[in-house]
């Protein structure tokens, strides 16, 4: 093991927690005794239930002790009520049409004939952390669990569009999935990317998650992956790609999922933005995973403070940790990082030498210098949350041994 990777002790501790969880058929209920409701949906483990129709399920933070988020633990977020519950690969086709040289109707076999591309990338909902906004805002009240680190495999969007052939004057590319609105008056979830963005090398149509087919609720049989950008663009159960010669004017880009047109994507708390732009690249953020808040620690016993950090596609340069509420900072040890879109795990060895309450903080910086704010930046829709989190722990007098 190299100095930058995780210690064996950390690994065993993590494995122990997971074994316990597995033995109980999910995470221990007492962890959530006074908190969120857990629910088990098909192909998923017990996740935090936000809403059931359409399903919005959050990953318990304990799963982030693992480098890769398992398929059954990844969060679920649908927008409109009629989510696909049955897909026959014999009849499913990915249609590519619009301002193209020819239309395509790609079967799964045809999709798999394109060059196979695999990488690890963080998937994160735009509204992850919305419940921490002050003043509070309406919407899915996510805590930290609307994210995960997943290895995706699929075909390059660029290659698919290349086969169809983009005609001159192509402006936007729109993406629609199999989910449909409950009423004709409800806007269908269709997203778009500017054509230059859509042609970027790393955007794929993924048919595998961590080496297995996608769970239905995560977008079986294929979804768009726009690494580094928020998951609102990662259209699930993808069925239609349309090349447009006019700017896309659908509701979910023109009206929803927009942020203030300002470098911070923020406005004064409680105010509206004068001008907005579609949400795009993820902000840099970190999370302390262990110890958990309110944990009781023993005096003079070594503690491994661990967590994760990621950015909007520029990797992580360093993570600083404070144990005194931000007065002093020290560099954490970074674990492996599978490419610039993946998160990195970090750890910081600490041995508390006096009893009391400690405020642990972590602050990540990516390779282009983007970091995290000390105070939460506010916007009306509750997006881009990346405040430096505080975890309060208590160190006791120690017990007789």
């Amino acid at each position: 093991m190299t100095g930058r990777s995780f210690s064996r002790r950390t690994f065993l501790k993590t494995a122990g927690v997971l074994t316990t969880a597995a033995a109980l058929g999910g995470f221990p209920a007492e962890l959530f005794a006074s908190g969120p409701r857990l629910a088990r949906f098909p192909e998923k483990s017990d996740l935090i239930l936000l809403t059931s129709r359409p399903p919005q399920l959050e990953t318990p933070v304990s799963y982030f002790k693992e480098y890769i988020t398992p398929n059954d633990a990844l969060f679920v977020r649908w927008h409109i009520a009629n989510v696909p519950t049955s897909v026959d690969l014999n009849t499913w086709r990915l249609k590519v049409s619009g301002n193209t040289g020819k239309d395509l109707l790609l079967s799964m076999d045809a999709l798999k004939k394109f060059e196979r591309v695999t990488y690890t990338a963080v998937i994160q909902c735009s509204g992850n952390g919305r419940s921490f906004f002050d003043p509070r805002v309406a919407g899915g009240q996510w805590r930290n669990g609307a994210m995960g680190n997943v290895t995706w495999t699929g075909a390059r969007l660029k290659d698919i569009l290349g086969m169809a052939g983009l005609k001159a004057g192509s402006v936007d590319v729109s993406f629609n999935g199999l989910d449909t609105p409950p009423l004709p008056t409800v806007p269908d979830l269709v997203k778009s990317l500017p054509v230059d963005k859509a042609l970027e090398e790393d955007i794929i149509v993924a048919y595998e998650m961590n080496g297995a087919p996608l769970p239905m609720l995560n977008g079986f049989p294929a979804r768009l992956i726009v690494p580094g950008w928020y998951a609102t663009y990662w259209v699930k159960a993808l069925s239609d790609i349309t090349v447009l010669s006019k700017p896309f004017d659908g509701f979910w880009v023109k009206k929803a999922y927009r942020i203030p047109d300002d470098p911070c994507g923020c406005v004064a708390p409680g105010t509206e933005a004068k001008k907005t732009v579609p949400i795009n690249r993820m902000t840099t953020r970190s999370l302390i995973v262990d110890p958990s808040a309110k944990a009781g620690l023993e005096l003079n016993q070594p503690v491994e403070i661990t967590g994760i950090a990621f950015s909007g596609g520029y990797g992580i340069k360093d993570v600083l940790v404070s144990i005194d509420g931000g007065k002093n900072w020290a560099e954490a040890r970074l674990g492996q990082q599978r490419g610039k879109y993946s998160w990195t795990q970090w750890s910081y060895a600490w041995r508390p030498s006096s009893p009391g309450t400690y405020t642990l903080m972590a602050r990540a910086t990516d390779s282009i210098g983007e970091s995290q704010p000390f105070e939460g930046l506010w916007n009306p829709a509750g997006y881009l949350w990346n405040k430096i989190e505080k975890t309060e722990v208590t160190v006791g007098q120690g017990v007789a041994r």
Partner: protein, 113 residues
């Protein structure tokens, strides 16, 4: 001549049944069909004036935990949310019912403001 017809009819039948059989096996749910069944999760909202109207309309498009997961809001904020559901999200709610829903939400999930 008659014999020839019979052979022709039989072979046509054979071809058709081959197509039908292969067609059937093609459509028989096999490993290419992936199906899940979503759980029904009931959400009980507290009794109060406007409960029936709130349940009736909100339930058309989403489960009622969309309401219960929200923080408590002022009347103005609940009004804005219900207006958004009608004007932006396409909910078919008339004026009188809109008022009943805003009243219910403000009473049950309000800040008193």
């Amino acid at each position: 001549m008659k014999k020839k017809y019979i052979i022709l009819i039989l072979s046509v039948c054979a071809i058709f049944s081959a197509i039908i059989i292969s067609g059937l096996s093609y459509a028989i749910p096999g490993e290419t069909l992936h199906t899940i069944e979503l759980p029904e999760i009931r959400v009980e909202l507290p009794a109060g004036e406007g409960l029936d109207t709130t349940q009736k309309y909100c339930n058309i498009c989403h489960s009622l935990d969309y309401i219960t997961m929200q923080p408590h809001f002022s009347r103005a904020q609940w009004n804005a949310e219900v207006t958004k559901m009608i004007k932006v999200m396409g909910a078919p709610i008339g004026e009188a019912d809109e008022k009943a829903i805003v009243n219910y939400l403000s009473a049950q999930y309000g800040t008193g403001q």
